[in-house]
């Protein structure tokens, strides 16, 4: 395993301290809550989807740095993207942190979010990184709840 300190890069620490798009959209068109039963992380996502585009997105909740930074960076990158693109990002992010996709060649939509690829070496933390993405997937599908169980 790599040193976990390598994962806790400045970007992750900074987004944990000052998360972007934090809060709740009311009214919203899509909404879901995510839970990580193992560690008690909780996350609430609200979105406004217009004409097939994610016009706005916010999250709130509490969790570890990996979870919060993942949510902060995710909301930033999917804003303005089409629903189809957002779903493709969900698939690439999941594949990457599970070690199934090579961040260098198989996750072109994720940009600098490939910095989460090191999570694959910390199996107990993979679910923390995925939680915001699983919640996004649930919200886009019209489901109210997502769980990483």
């Amino acid at each position: 395993m790599t040193d976990p300190r390598e994962l806790y890069q400045q970007v992750i620490l900074e987004h944990n301290k000052k998360p972007r798009n934090f809060g709740k959209l009311d009214p919203c068109t899509h909404h879901a809550e995510g839970h990580n039963p193992l560690c008690g992380d909780q996350l609430e996502l609200s979105l406004i989807v217009e004409n097939g585009l994610v016009a706005d997105i916010k999250f709130q909740g509490s969790g570890c740095a990996i979870d919060v930074a993942s949510a902060s960076l995710m909301t930033g990158i999917v804003k303005g993207k089409s629903v189809a693109e957002a779903e493709a990002m969900v698939a690439q992010f999941r594949g990457m942190v599970r070690g199934e996709l090579d961040p260098a060649t198989q996750a072109p939509l994720l940009g600098r979010l490939t910095l989460f690829s090191g999570v694959k070496d910390l199996p107990s933390r993979v679910k923390c990184a995925i939680l915001p993405w699983a919640t996004l997937h649930a919200a886009l599908k019209g489901e109210e709840e997502a769980s990483t169980e």
Partner: protein, 404 residues
């Protein structure tokens, strides 16, 4: 105690993980087994393996003797009056479920009450909650102070004529609090209420005497006690065990079976259906011998020294808060650090070779009581040293520096 010599009995302590020597501060999750217990189990599997209470073969008789000798060791360890009061179980959880499903189902009726404490492990909550739901009974909770001590004065009000059982932990797995169970039992008995004590976290740290405590039931797991997983015990006063119906049906627990009627073994046999984990029972017996040779008093003294030292050092770290400041504590320290989630702390400590537990410790209601999602918990055993704690402290400081 010669800690250097003791450490040689635990090969895992010499392991290097991710380039760092292992610092095992997680004995509250599972205690390490000494080599003598591991080798005793291996010897059974290699040279003695068969089944117990089966027929006339020399081999089976030998296995039965070893297995029953381990039960006698547990009896002595708990100070029970009779070996018939010791029921083998898979562990604490199974022992509590056994009592809930036999004793509990017999005595609890609609409208009755069960009493637990605010610092229970899920194992001493959920079985009672399930029973209460099934019977239409109510589960009530003994509150705790911010320091993590039970508010005993509340017992006068909480115990009513409808209270059928009080279930309380001897030592909190999160806070380390040693509860005054002898006093609690005396108060409950004065009102006619039997008491089950969850001893999972107590037996590794302090001498238990179930007769002195006057506990109705006392339960523990072998693996917290330097023994293997898959074995534990229920102590029950013989009068209770005799009155209780059997739980699991099957081989071993019967006296005779016909199509019309089955009669059961006397306690503890009637609670022990099927083939037990024989090697595990024998291994636990060997672990108890090992602890007995070290001396429970000396173990307690070493662990107390580590607790005091670790508390002093951790308390000096700015932003770190220890949960659980009871006057009487076992060597378990839960803490939270401002701005760092316990799981991040756990991963960073893991990277330094420091094995601790980060999480809710199967005590979610207690986490809610302190309004934290989780804690980081270090727990110390007799083989730990002050140097181990120095490594913990510097690893915590490094994590705080990173998150600054």
């Amino acid at each position: 105690m010669d800690i250097t010599a003791i450490r040689r009995d635990f090969p895992l302590l010499s392991r290097v993980l991710n380039g760092k020597p292992v610092i095992y501060l997680d004995s509250a999750v599972s205690g390490q087994m000494p080599l003598c217990a591991i080798e005793r189990m291996a010897k059974y599997e290699r040279d003695e393996h068969t089944n117990v209470h089966r027929g006339v073969s020399t081999l089976s008789q030998e296995a039965t003797d070893f297995y029953e000798a381990a039960r006698e060791k547990v009896r002595r360890f708990l100070g029970a009056a009779s070996v018939r009061e010791i029921v083998w179980t898979r562990g604490t959880t199974e022992a509590i479920n056994l009592v809930a499903q036999t004793f509990g189902r017999t005595v609890v009726k609609a409208g009755d009450e069960l009493l637990v404490s605010a610092m229970e492990h899920h194992a001493n909550i959920v079985p009672w909650q399930m029973l209460a739901q099934e019977k239409g009974a109510t589960l009530k909770v003994i509150p705790i102070t911010d320091d993590g001590e039970l508010i005993l004065e509340s017992l006068d009000e909480l115990i009513t004529e409808r209270t059928k059982l009080l279930a309380v932990t001897h030592v909190s797995n999160v806070l380390g609090t040693v509860n005054p169970v002898k006093e609690i039992i005396a108060r409950a008995h004065a009102r006619g209420v039997p008491v089950l004590v969850d001893g999972a976290q107590a037996v590794p740290h302090l001498k238990v005497d179930v007769q002195d405590l006057d506990a109705d039931f006392y339960v523990f797991s072998g693996h917290k006690l330097s023994g293997p997983t898959g074995i534990g015990a229920l102590y029950g006063k013989l009068a209770h065990l005799e009155a209780m119906p059997p739980w699991h049906g099957g081989g071993n627990m019967i006296r005779s079976v016909t199509w019309e009627k089955t009669t059961y073994m006397a306690a503890p046999g009637k609670f022990e259906a099927g083939t037990p984990p024989i090697a595990a029972a024998i291994g636990l017996g060997a672990a108890l011998d090992y602890l007995g040779n070290l001396g429970l008093d000396r173990i307690a003294a070493q662990e107390h020294d580590l607790l005091v030292y670790a508390t002093e050092r951790l308390e000096r770290i700015p932003g770190l808060r220890i949960l659980g400041k009871a006057r009487d504590k076992a060597s378990v320290i839960s803490f939270v650090v401002e701005g760092i989630h316990p799981h991040d702390m756990g991963s960073l400590l893991d990277g330094e070779g420091v094995v601790i537990r980060a999480g809710h410790h199967c005590a979610q209601p207690l986490m809610a009581r302190y309004n934290v999602p989780a804690t980081t918990r270090a727990s110390f055993a007799y083989f730990n040293t002050r140097e181990d704690i120095d490594v913990l402290v510097s690893a915590v400081e490094k994590a705080i520096e990173l998150f600054k």
